[in-house]
């Protein structure tokens, strides 16, 4: 059993705050972290490894310093790490990213399960998992909160949808994207930390994946950002003062005038 976990290094949004005057991001002191949802993906893979035995490989696309993120993941007990790094990968949209990840998974050859976080917290698109599965032409399930191995090379997954939950049977090789209910990520162990420090991280570029540089990065992207701007400021906040009763009454009147349903 070979499980591949795809991760992304993202800015730590915990430290990102909005400047109340300019309403823009204050980025001072923002560090890079592993996308929180990807930690759930790693946990999902390690759980399967604990229960059934499996080799787990973590892969990311990013600049050379993304190898730090890979070492963090190795220290959790993941076996191998692959860094997809090439100047040609810069500026990838979700399609170009998926093309690159699919290329790496194809090169590994023997993959049974691919696990991704449901989305990355910087872009929040939730597209790379499904697009990667589509490119590999393997079945997938999104927003999964439980994975169980079935006899005969299939997975039983529980999905969380807007309407409730769904239980699917899905043959391997398959891709799943997971949500936090899959289980809290474990903490690194000393033994794995030592190993992670020394571990060799494989680096693949476009040529290693057999990908033409026109198919990846900005060149291979279908979408293009044409404008970036701060969100329109909320109309100035109205501070409601007075006694508790006066505050309750004023709020009630305001909400009634705003035609809030139910009031």
């Amino acid at each position: 059993m070979h499980i591949v976990v795809c991760i992304k290094q993202v800015p730590d949004t915990k430290n990102v705050r909005i400047d109340p005057d300019t309403h823009t991001l204050v980025r001072q002191g923002v560090e890079s972290i592993v996308n929180p949802f990807d930690l759930f993906a790693v946990e999902a893979a390690l759980k399967i490894k604990d229960e059934n035995g499996a080799r787990v490989t973590v892969v990311t696309m990013g600049p050379p310093q993304a190898s730090e993120a890979l070492r963090d993941i190795l220290s959790l007990g993941v076996d191998d790490a692959v860094l997809l790094s090439d100047r040609a990968f810069a500026g990838s949209d979700t399609w170009a990213t998926s093309t690159t990840l699919a290329g790496a998974i194809r090169k590994m050859g023997d993959v049974d399960i691919v696990i991704c976080g449901k989305q990355a917290v910087d872009g929040d698109t939730a597209q790379v998992g499904p697009e990667t599965a589509a490119l590999l032409d393997i079945p997938y399930a999104t927003f999964v909160k439980n994975i169980q191995l079935l006899e005969g090379g299939a997975l039983k997954v529980v999905r969380q949808t807007d309407e409730g939950t769904e239980v699917w049977k899905i043959p391997m090789p398959a891709l799943v994207t997971v949500i936090k209910e899959i289980g809290e990520p474990r903490v690194p162990s000393l033994r794995h930390k030592m190993r992670a420090k020394k571990a060799e991280i494989v680096v693949w570029g476009a040529a290693d994946l057999g990908l033409d540089t026109d198919c990846v990065g900005l060149c291979g992207s279908f979408t293009q950002v044409v404008r970036v701007f701060s969100p329109p400021r909320r109309s100035n906040r109205i501070q409601i003062e007075g006694s508790i009763e006066e505050q309750a009454d004023q709020l009630f009147q305001y909400l009634k005038n705003s035609k809030v349903p139910g009031l």
Partner: protein
């Protein structure tokens, strides 16, 4: 590749350096330097008032035969026997785009046992043609069967734009449709427009909602976007005329590798956060589980749902299905009341699309006030009962 600097125009003012989310721009004595960390996001380009920054050209890949694609389509999500409201919202938004472009508006219905009434309703919201694929295999959603059916329809009819709801269904299978058609997809749009050349201008929040980005798909068709529910306004025009086309697709479209074993609808109605018009959310300020009864009472009174911050969920005061924010649900109700909730950035990204935000907090410096429409500095244990009493008074009910 990285952003390109025109050294003649650059004044080394440093604005771009502060704005760069990758920290890739450093200031030197007489020029700026862009490191390999540049992700080509383009944020610097927009912040530079001297026009000194630009991005290398995008998408040298194959260009689709753009002229052969015509019309705007909306995927009208059908689930549990009815069309999701976002389908109506998108038809009304799609109508505006189609009229601007002078083309037809199509709606796609996939499912099983789809009566004509459902399709007729889509016409009343703006569709000229409703394409109906009605098959027992489509009774339950799976990504493969739904994607293959929609891809086949798009290949036949060649719409230039496809819009779908950014629901758990749309966010799951629309990426597969885009990948199969080898075209671009923009997720979670909150604003749509169309340029004179027919380019769909897709605006969406990024970096946790702190930045808005407008995205185009210049060389591929259809231009695809998922759109957040409750952002567009549904406009009904009863008596509108349109055509219902029941479509036969090849058997292959209905074959998938996934087997649906069970579908369990959410029992707890109050947890249906994403559909509620009013959400009353509590945070650590609630102090204990029983105090959520206060919010339940208020929510029940206005037919709303109860939400919670991550803190309250972690304390075990309320089930995780109520959590709003980055690791919970993204919501955009008409009214969001944040009660005893500080407003960490992770919470704000999940609710700042709400139309009216009311913040009730003892701490006047709580970040939640920064996004609030109405701010109330008060003890929630005094204010909420007073507010409930005020609503009851209006209705001539006696306080309980």
């Amino acid at each position: 590749m990285k952003a390109i600097v025109d050294k003649k125009k650059c004044t080394v003012c440093g604005v771009c350096s502060d704005a760069c989310p990758m920290g890739a721009i450093s200031l030197r004595e007489d020029h700026i330097e862009i490191s390999d960390d540049c992700s080509l996001c383009g944020i610097c380009v927009d912040t530079c008032e001297f026009g000194a920054l630009s991005l290398p050209e995008v998408g040298k890949g194959p260009v689709a035969d753009l002229e052969s694609y015509r019309g705007v389509w909306v995927y009208a999500e059908w689930r549990e026997g009815e069309v999701h409201k976002v389908g109506h919202e998108l038809l009304s938004a799609g109508r505006v785009l189609a009229d601007k472009r002078g083309v037809q508006l199509g709606a796609v219905l996939l499912g099983s046992g789809l009566e004509n009434g459902i399709a007729e309703e889509l016409i009343s919201y703006g569709a000229d043609t409703v394409y109906v694929v009605d098959r027992p295999e489509l009774a339950h959603f799976t990504d493969e069967t739904y994607a293959k059916s929609l891809v086949e329809l798009i290949r036949r009819e060649r719409p230039e734009i496809l819009l779908a709801g950014a629901t758990s269904m749309g966010r799951s299978f629309i990426p597969r449709v885009a990948a199969s058609l080898q075209t671009g997809l923009t997720a979670d749009c909150t604003e749509l427009d169309i340029s004179d050349e027919g380019l769909l201008l897709q605006t969406r929040p990024a970096f946790g909602g702190n930045i808005m980005a407008t995205i185009i798909c210049p060389n591929r068709r259809p231009q695809m976007a998922t759109v957040r529910p409750k952002v567009m306004k549904p406009v009904k025009a009863p008596g509108r005329q349109g055509r219902i086309e029941r479509v036969e697709l090849p058997e292959e479209c209905f074959k998938g590798r996934v087997e649906v074993l069970e579908v369990i609808p959410e029992q707890d109605r109050t947890a249906k956060l994403t559909e509620a018009d009013v959400i009353v959310s509590g945070g650590r300020g609630l102090r204990k589980a029983e105090n959520f009864d206060l919010l339940e009472e208020l929510a029940g009174l206005v037919n709303g749902a109860v939400g919670a911050s991550r803190g309250a969920v972690e304390e075990g005061w309320i089930a995780p299905s109520h959590q709003v924010g980055q690791t919970g649900r993204t919501v955009a109700p008409t009214l969001y009341m944040a009660v005893g909730l500080a407003g960490a950035i992770q919470h704000l990204v999940g609710m700042q699309g709400s139309q009216v935000i009311v913040a009730v907090n003892k701490d006047p410096h709580a970040p939640i006030f920064d996004v609030a429409t109405y701010g109330i500095v008060a003890d929630l244990f005094e204010f909420i009962p007073a507010f409930v009493k005020r609503i009851r008074k209006e209705r001539g009910e006696r306080a309980q």
